[in-house]
Symmetry: C2
């Protein structure tokens, strides 16, 4: 197996360093007006210049993270700075809330209508502060983090269309993003003087979010994560209440594994791995291969017309979850599933002709939109997943060595 | 040709009266709690009981309209009353704005976040007032109509996420719905004492909306209707600004033909027919047949992942537009296109086993969601289109007789 793991680590490393990072370095940088172009066609040509805050912040995060984790390359810090300066100047409204979209120049297009822009801003500026040592970046990260904490119980604020009281539900996205974000903020809160109460709060948040995900959102019998449940974790028989997003659940499970690993909680690791496997059993398309985007827990028609499409991030996050699960538990089922998802992903998503990977396939696995970036796909899931898989297979190969 | 038209008229008549209306009569009526079930699976079984105001009002409209147009069947008036009573009691907030969704009992779920719920309420209660003679229904129709007029320049009100000023656009849906609604309200405004100013306003609205559609939203060179343009009708090179929804444009054109016919405006009829044909040339899938749901005017990737799906209403509204266009202009191209779209629609959408028609096909024309009703598909486009095609082919057959 050792040779296999070494080969896999190399595939991920090479694809990341020789293909994906260069693609975004070459095509996505708006040196003229600041920030990044994310709407890139198959060949990398810019087809739209609007700047979506999630993706701007995610690309800032990615280049800062690689600078911190991988190599202190001056170019990567400059690319990060080009985003950070643009976002610091244009990204927020007067109250410090993060917009959803700007035009190329940085003028606001779409209001700060939920907290996810702020989440990604906190993550991005936290990594960038670590990379650059910039104290303004620290402040921006802390401000965004406070926005998220303040608004977490009402993530859409005045833009929520839900009538209060009739059907009260909470959504998996909130604890998921809070768990991830808290890990990202950890170093910063430790380094800021007098942030003791924030740090305690962070630990509480981490405990609470893991518990919330693994009890309220997880259905123990089915082993499935529901997207929306009541405040005490029960199900409601309505479209939102029946909704399963397999990729989202699997991504949540590797966040939980990551937290459990830091805490040495083997029971939690085992549980998270089991859930990944049961979501895959439920969400895998036996006829054409690949993981469905949305399913109804009772098998009814979904409201999402794109339900049977195969999305890049779903498959990449699953590769992360399965290689992490295998590394942490050596469960044979993880390895079997890993190989299956690997084969599907590398055969269908990778664009051998123009680099990077396709984002959207139809049920049959044929390219549905031949873009490399758009409103939702940017420089984030692909490089992060490639890096994590690379690291995990390296670790697996080392484990083989030491045990042989 | 006469025999052909008679046969077509019969097909539409039979499908409407022996298949579609009975399907909704049999499966959709909530006699217990009022209103209608619209979430019906392939066999008509209710899989979700939420009540979406668009569809509730549209079904009320449909049964009232058939009562007024087709036959004064007591059952149809009762079905209408079952919806009207429920909606009058539960459909509006304290200010008289129409909610978007209610639960089965009628408790509000989704706020009145745009004016389209009010549009369909005005249409529905206007038809129902005509059918029932109910004066409360008249008042409700007028109130909803006033809501629409009051809110037309800001259809989403406080729920709009658009940042004011940066990129000001208007949307085709507003003049389209206003044109249609105004025709629906005509009889009522004529019958209400002291509504002179509203009637004048109605004529102005009709003039203005037709002009707005045919100049601002229509690109004269491409012969395409854009979904979103600037206030003076120019294009913006962004996702929303490049968006073409062929079915929407074609539906708008038969509204315009209908208005032009009443006014005897032959130039406008010819123009509307030309636009239908050029939208079809642009929006037809040459490889698999059928009309795409969304396209980018420049051929770039759309934001809509469902762009290449084939939707029931798109094809049915096109059959209405082509048979109307052929009736009014005798253009051979209309007849050629009619046959092409007819063949696709009747071969792919009709469910010969369980009645009614499928709503959502994938690009290849295979069933994507095997429902007969849901959040957006109810008892409206299918019966309305079948009735209009039936009437138009009857008229065509009579024209043949008189000219032969």
């Amino acid at each position: 197996m050792r040779q296999k793991f070494i080969e896999l680590a190399e595939v991920y490393q090479t694809t990341l360093l020789d293909n994906v990072i260069p693609f975004w370095e070459r095509y996505s940088l708006d040196w003229e007006q600041g920030g990044y172009f994310t709407c890139l066609d198959r060949e990398g040509k810019v087809y739209d210049t609007d700047k979506f805050i999630w993706l701007q912040n995610r690309q800032l995060w990615t280049f800062s993270w690689f600078y911190n984790q991988l190599e202190s390359k001056e170019e990567w810090l400059e690319i990060a700075k080009n985003g950070a300066d643009f976002l610091a100047k244009h990204g927020r409204d007067e109250e410090g809330n993060w917009y959803f979209a700007l035009n190329r120049k940085g003028e606001p297009l779409i209001q700060p209508y939920n907290i996810f822009s702020d989440c990604f801003a906190a993550m991005a500026f936290s990594q960038y502060a670590k990379a650059s040592g910039d104290s303004q970046a620290q402040e921006i990260a802390l401000q965004a983090y406070n926005n998220v904490l303040r608004r977490q119980d009402n993530p859409k604020g005045k833009y929520s269309k839900v009538y209060p009281g009739t059907r009260v539900m909470k959504t998996l996205a909130v604890p998921m993003i809070l768990a991830n974000l808290s890990l990202e903020m950890d170093w910063l809160l430790k380094s800021v003087p007098r942030s003791g109460s924030l740090r305690d709060r962070l630990q509480n948040i981490l405990d609470r979010t893991v518990r919330e995900i693994m009890t309220d959102f997880l259905d123990p019998e089915q082993g499935l994560l529901y997207e929306n449940v009541t405040l005490n974790g029960s199900h409601i028989d309505c479209f939102d209440g029946r909704l399963i997003n397999p990729g989202h659940g699997i991504e949540a499970m590797w966040f939980v594994m990551d937290i459990a690993r830091r805490r040495g909680d083997r029971v939690l690791i085992e549980r998270a791995v089991e859930v990944v496997l049961s979501i895959l059993n439920f969400g895998w398309d036996e006829q054409y291969g690949g993981i469905y985007y949305f399913l109804d827990a009772k098998g009814y028609p979904t409201q999402q017309l794109e339900w049977n499409q195969k999305l890049w991030w779903v498959h990449l996050e699953t590769l992360v979850a399965l290689s992490m699960g295998y590394l942490l538990t050596q469960k044979e089922e993880c390895w079997q599933w890993y190989q299956r998802v690997h084969e599907y992903t590398w055969n269908h998503f990778v664009d051998t002709q123009h680099g990077e990977i396709f984002g959207y396939l139809n049920r049959r696995g044929e390219v549905l939109l031949n873009l490399k970036g758009g409103k939702w796909k940017g420089c984030f899931h692909v490089p992060r997943a490639l890096y994590l898989c690379w690291q995990q297979f390296s670790e697996l190969s080392l484990n083989c060595k030491s045990s042989s």
